[in-house]
């Protein structure tokens, strides 16, 4: 564990104590197995207690954990083969939006997602996972290619938002996202969307129209980030915790409100603690979901997709 969030520290302290205890035992040739087992139990209990009682804001922090698996980590861990495809064929290649054909257990998928960077240099290259219009157009180009070759589509959503820059406006950020949303509804192939980190607003929705939209346990998805919500409604950043509560933006909230189709569990303590387990769980869910969707005729799937989103909303 490289980075520790505030609520991860007490657990890390106990884990360090356990390591120390085992080391001393070896050095002094004493049997500490009973004490170690008891400490291990305490660690497990503390983990369980901590992670079943997280506030919404703490989930937001987990979704942004710098060690969390990103789109390429999922691709690397679940694909046997992957060919990355670049460019929107108009302006350039957006490094914040990646994609390509990948093979998972003999099934070819088109896999597309926002990509964040791990260090300062990468973060800049990936523009912090904030795509420009080219990114959305690249994503749509890849989706239409998948449709042409009859391959199902997976999208991984992980963005603090579409990039609010000057050039992004000049090149039609709004139009690019709008077109993606509309055209994704008519894709003839199955579309599975997974929120793997942050799902901020239109920038997320621009690749999140699917037959199934799933959220990993420690992610958020809403119309605005808690910080920006706080700034607009309270005129200061300081109410981000309250804003997170008010927005009801966690996987559990969104599922209970019928705004996403399911929650994918993460390893205890978060996906960043066990990439293998986290990614294999996602892989299993993807393959099962595809099997389910393959049973539905294409036109029917499109109409169900439209109807599903059509039901979202509460009016009197």
């Amino acid at each position: 564990m490289k980075t520790l969030l505030e609520f991860e520290k007490p657990i890390a302290d106990l884990e360090a104590k356990l390591v120390e205890m085992k080391k001393l035992a070896v050095e002094n040739n004493v049997d500490v197995s009973a004490a170690a087992a008891s400490l291990e139990n305490s660690i497990e209990d503390l983990k369980r207690e901590t992670f079943s009682n997280l506030t919404r804001w703490q989930r937001v922090l987990l979704s942004r954990h710098p060690d969390r698996p990103y789109t390429f980590d999922y691709i690397e861990n679940i694909c046997d083969e992957f060919i990355e495809i670049f460019g929107d064929r108009t302006v350039g290649d957006d490094k914040a939006m990646v994609g390509g054909f990948g093979k998972i257990d003999n099934q070819t998928f088109m896999i597309i997602g926002q990509q964040k960077g791990r260090n300062t240099k990468q973060r800049q290259k990936r523009n912090f996972g904030m795509p420009n219009p080219e990114g959305y157009r690249k994503a749509l180009r890849l989706m239409k290619m998948a449709e042409k070759f009859g391959k199902p589509i997976i999208t991984f959503i992980d963005t603090p938002g579409a990039f609010p820059g000057l050039e992004a406006e000049e090149r039609g950020q709004g139009e690019a996202i709008a077109r993606n949303i509309r055209d994704m509804f008519m894709l003839k192939v199955p579309v599975i969307c997974v929120i793997i980190g942050e799902g901020a607003s239109g920038g997320a929705l621009g690749i999140a129209i699917g037959d199934r939209v799933l959220m990993l346990e420690n992610t958020w998805y809403s119309v605005i980030s808690p910080e920006n919500c706080s700034t607009i409604l309270w005129r200061t950043w300081n109410f981000k915790e309250q804003a997170a509560e008010a927005l009801k933006l966690t996987a559990k909230d969104m599922f209970e409100n019928g705004l996403v189709d399911g929650i994918i569990p993460e390893p205890l303590g978060g996906a960043h603690l066990d990439y293998a387990l986290a990614t294999q769980t996602v892989k299993k869910v993807l393959l099962e979901t595809l099997e389910e969707l393959n049973n539905i005729p294409s036109r029917e799937r499109i109409l169900q997709r439209i109807e599903k989103f059509g039901k979202m909303g509460v009016v009197i």
Partner: protein
């Protein structure tokens, strides 16, 4: 070459209007400060006779401008917002809704209607900025979706008049999904080959721009309207410098290729009629 159509008589001139204006009601243009009679201003479709400034108007004014003899049938006139998230910021959401309803006489930020425009059938949705900044919540999404359904059923062209600051934060995830809901219906309208004109008025930003407002067969705008995805303040903070003059104006957006044309509100009804007749 801009738009032209040969016709027998032109629109009313300011002089005629002035003569008919009742006394005592004056409008001052916020842009050039010219004072004119409210009646003259209304006859000019709420634009300034001197500088052409387009005053911000709401659904009622658009319906009066567009529908023949102001005759139209409103759809879902009584639909109003729930409070699915029990949202509380500095105020309860239901209290905010009640106060806004009382202040504006509106049920939410969009009204939808159908009727005749120069004898052509048309379905219109027009947003009201006065209602919580024209923000898009469940009511806005649902009413637009149903208006599109009406358009599909009657095979009448759909006109969407947007004026919005973006999402209704108090409906959070529900608000976001209205972008999807409305775009889904527009996909069906597109498939059915029914014309969709999106008119962007001052201002149109955020989630509305990133969904139905930018999905017209024709995306058109009123002169000078602010149009963008991100608001100017956010962009200024992101890039850390001042924005060029005219950035995100309708004229700027047209130059960058995202608008089909800009239309003076005085010409809106006749120009739309011309367009729909050419397509039929």
């Amino acid at each position: 070459m801009s738009w032209f159509t040969r016709k027998d008589k032109g629109i009313n001139t300011p002089t005629e209007a002035k003569r008919e204006a009742p006394d005592g009601l004056w409008y001052q243009c916020p842009s050039c400060k010219k004072v004119m009679h409210t009646r003259e201003h209304r006859i000019l479709a709420y634009t300034c006779s001197n500088c052409g400034y387009h005053e911000k108007i709401g659904s009622q004014e658009y319906f009066e401008l567009l529908f023949d003899q102001t005759r139209y049938t409103e759809l879902d006139a009584l639909m109003s917002s729930g409070d699915p998230l029990n949202f509380v910021d500095t105020k309860n959401y239901p209290d905010r809704l009640k106060a806004t309803e009382k202040k504006t006489g509106l049920k939410d930020a969009v009204r939808t209607a159908y009727g005749k425009m120069n004898e052509l059938d048309i379905t219109v949705a027009a947003m009201d900025f006065n209602f919580i900044g024209g923000s898009m919540g469940s009511v806005v999404g649902e009413k637009i979706a149903r208006a599109i359904d009406h358009s599909l059923e009657t095979k009448s062209p759909f006109l969407m008049i947007s004026r919005s600051g973006g999402a209704r934060m108090m409906e959070a995830g529900y608000s976001l999904m209205q972008m999807a809901k409305t775009s889904a219906r527009l996909a069906l309208l597109d498939e059915a080959g029914i014309p969709y004109v999106s008119l962007l008025t001052d201002p149109t930003t955020g989630g509305v721009t990133a969904s139905y407002a930018m999905l017209g067969d024709f995306n058109i705008a009123e002169p000078g309207a602010l149009i963008g995805f991100a608001g100017p303040r956010v962009i200024r903070e992101t890039i850390g410098k001042d924005l060029p003059k005219g950035f995100q104006s309708a004229e700027f957006v047209l130059e960058h290729g995202f608008l089909d044309f800009i239309v003076d509100r005085k010409d809106l009804k006749d120009k739309l009629t011309s367009l729909f007749k050419m397509l039929s």
